[in-house]
Symmetry: C2
Subunit: 331 residues, 2 copies
């Protein structure tokens, strides 16, 4: 099948002979494609990720808020959910989310699989329920057959649904950014100015928090470490998970991969431009007022972190049947 | 470029030697791929079709209501627009829309290009304006370059935007349905029962209205010709265009291509299943009460009209810039 062949290609690993010495001493490592993908499970998960029947309205899919045409987020301050309800927080990208130490801004879900159950049943997001979604999918013969083929026995439930979605999300890595090519030894992959931005990013201390293959996503830190951040947003960060007062305003450090695509910035989405985000980080986290030129240089470096976006044929979804519960978009 | 090559393949015409005699006498003709597509214009139009920045909220794209993963419609009774406003009428498929004698249920737009300007500025759909959309796209360098390359001179305006979208829509044909293969001489492409359904479809008079390559979409007819159709929906059909009392409840006869995918049915979306739609058509348009077996047979035939769905890589959209006007999802 054409689609299978394409998926095969999508998940194939380009083997590059790398002299480790070129980046072993750097705080950022190149992104690698995940090696152990169950391809048929991921193909099913892709369909589910795009299927608006996972929502009560029949209108919102995971891709509505994590649009893979636009860097895996919605580019809104806070998201739009069922009945156009305003979400509480900025939608993070699903790109490279598999590299995160945990999911959500406050890290309240340990894994992608655990995370995926959240939005389906969240009344301000997809507003469905785990049972209803399984009941919907069960009425569709092509889904029944595909779940059976992927999991080796008949049956559709939230466990299998979120397992497949998570497997698809694991494939959403963005290797081969210009910066990664530079790390791998291609000295011409970034400009002198971008390199100067990287040096400043390191020397001023950004890499204390934004490091590793995801350039972040591997620790929790307080927003406003040096100077407080003013926001009307009600989110208080990891205190919601730990109950620990010291965790107030502590958030998962976001990945800076593809940061050019995932505007607006910060958990409240109130920071419109990347230059503003960089300047603010200097002030809030490091107590440092960068000059306009310094901000520009770091921003130029950050734009070299945009990698190859996942590319695949728009999935075709199997039609509902006479037995499928009707969507309820209104009321 | 990989994408270009794919598009090339997408639009390439499969030449089949056809003995015309096999379908010359039938009221339905096979669908053919359009021959004269401007491929780079269509590729730009595809991006625009998927770009939610064509809406005021930054959240709704053409594909939100004409989802190409689901047969080019939204599978809702009436659509969801800006601010979750309930639309007045069922969203028709964009698949094969280029074959229609005119656009919209009442035919009020003559061409796809004229049509595409409507939803962008419609306050219950995308709620933007022709000027704002052009202003947004102008701030994005990749769009500026692509419009210049496609149209041969710099400039982005609603005329070029709708021209490109219409060119993309022209490519959304669905050839190679099982019924088309039967028309082209492959006698095993449909079952005896499906063929019996087709014979009944012809003999009972459905083809008086549903004929041609689109199996409809080439004439206007009254809904409720023999018995009146009861609906709470306010739409009155072509009278809105002509002002002619005789045009009350006269609608464009919809295409029956891919009808299995474009539930629910009728302009008010109140008919949930295809079997119900077939039974109602018999009563309303022909004064005939089909038996359950007759309804089943015709329904089985109609399901042979599902053709190859357009398949292409999910388009990647160029990011906004600091100059781009912000979306206004709320208020
Ligand atoms: C209505 C908008 C909306 C929908 C629909 C939605 N999400 Fe989210 N998603 C969000 C928001 C907002 C957050 C951040 C919530 C938080 O951190 O408290 C989020 C967080 C996430 C995260 C965590 C990323 C990170 O870095 O922490 C993942 C993964 C994710 N969503 C995947 C999905 C999947 C899979 C679906 C569909 C089953 C989905 N989302 C549906 C808005 C949405
Ligand atoms: C002490 C830890 C820490 C340091 C140091 C730090 N950051 Fe951050 N960074 C964070 C946290 C936490 C957030 C999330 C803020 C929030 O919750 O909105 C963040 C957010 C960001 C964002 C926005 C990401 C998004 O998707 O919204 C950018 C850009 C960024 N940092 C760049 C930098 C730069 C550049 C530096 C150095 C000048 C830096 N950071 C230093 C912890 C840190
Ligand atoms: C909010 C939902 C929504 C959005 C967004 C939307 N449409 Fe539509 N579309 C509809 C509805 C509803 C109709 C039927 C309106 C009528 O006939 O009066 C329609 C009709 C059409 C038709 C006519 C089809 C036919 O057979 O008559 C075409 C073509 C079309 N839309 C293309 C587009 C394009 C292109 C865009 C984006 C620029 C778009 N639509 C955005 C809901 C939407
Ligand atoms: C006199 C003209 C006429 C005849 C005869 C006719 N139709 Fe229709 N058909 C229409 C019109 C007009 C509509 C659109 C109804 C509306 O506005 O909701 C329609 C709608 C439909 C639909 C729903 C399409 C959709 O996308 O919602 C189906 C299915 C259908 N017809 C099948 C049939 C069948 C089967 C027969 C024969 C039993 C038939 N039609 C006979 C004019 C006709
Ligand atoms: Ca963001
Ligand atoms: Ca319909």
């Amino acid at each position: 099948m054409k689609f299978k062949a394409f998926i095969g290609k999508l998940f194939s690993i380009t083997l590059v002979t790398v002299s480790l010495s070129s980046f072993a001493s750097e705080p950022i490592q190149p992104i690698e494609r995940p090696a152990d993908i169950d391809q048929s499970k991921a193909a099913l998960g892709m369909k589910l990720f795009f299927d608006p029947r996972l929502s009560k309205s029949g209108f919102l899919s995971c891709n509505s808020c994590h649009n893979l045409s636009m860097g895996g987020s919605d580019n809104l301050k806070t998201s739009i959910g069922h009945n156009w309800q305003q979400g509480p927080i900025n939608s993070p990208t699903v790109l490279n989310a598999g590299l995160s130490l945990a999911q959500f801004w406050d890290g309240r879900a340990a894994t992608l699989k655990e995370q995926a159950g959240g939005p389906i049943a969240n009344p301000v997001e997809m507003a469905s329920s785990h049972k209803l979604v399984a009941d919907v999918l069960k009425t569709i013969p092509q889904y029944r057959a595909e779940f059976q083929q992927v999991f080796g026995s008949p049956g559709i439930d939230i466990d299998r649904i979120t397992d497949a979605i998570a497997e698809f999300e694991k494939t959403l890595v963005t290797p081969n950014s210009r910066f990664d090519r530079w790390l791998l030894g291609d000295t011409k992959a970034i400009t002198a100015r971008e390199l100067a931005g990287y040096e400043l990013f390191k020397s001023s201390g950004c890499t204390a928090c934004h490091s590793g293959p995801a350039v972040g996503a591997n620790s929790y830190h307080k927003l406003g470490l040096v100077r407080p951040y003013k926001t009307e947003n009600a989110a208080r960060g990891r205190i919601a998970v730990t109950g620990n007062k010291a965790d107030e305003f502590v958030f998962k450090v976001p990945t800076l991969r593809n940061i050019e695509l995932t505007y607006p910035y910060f958990h409240d989405g109130e920071v419109a431009t990347l230059r503003e985000a960089v300047a603010l980080m200097g002030q809030l986290q490091l107590g440092r007022d960068f000059t306009a030129d310094e901000v520009d240089k770091i921003t130029a470096f950050l734009k070299t972190l945009t990698g190859d976006q996942p590319t695949f044929p728009l999935p075709l979804l199997p039609p509902s049947t006479e037995q499928t519960p009707q969507p309820e978009p209104f009321g």
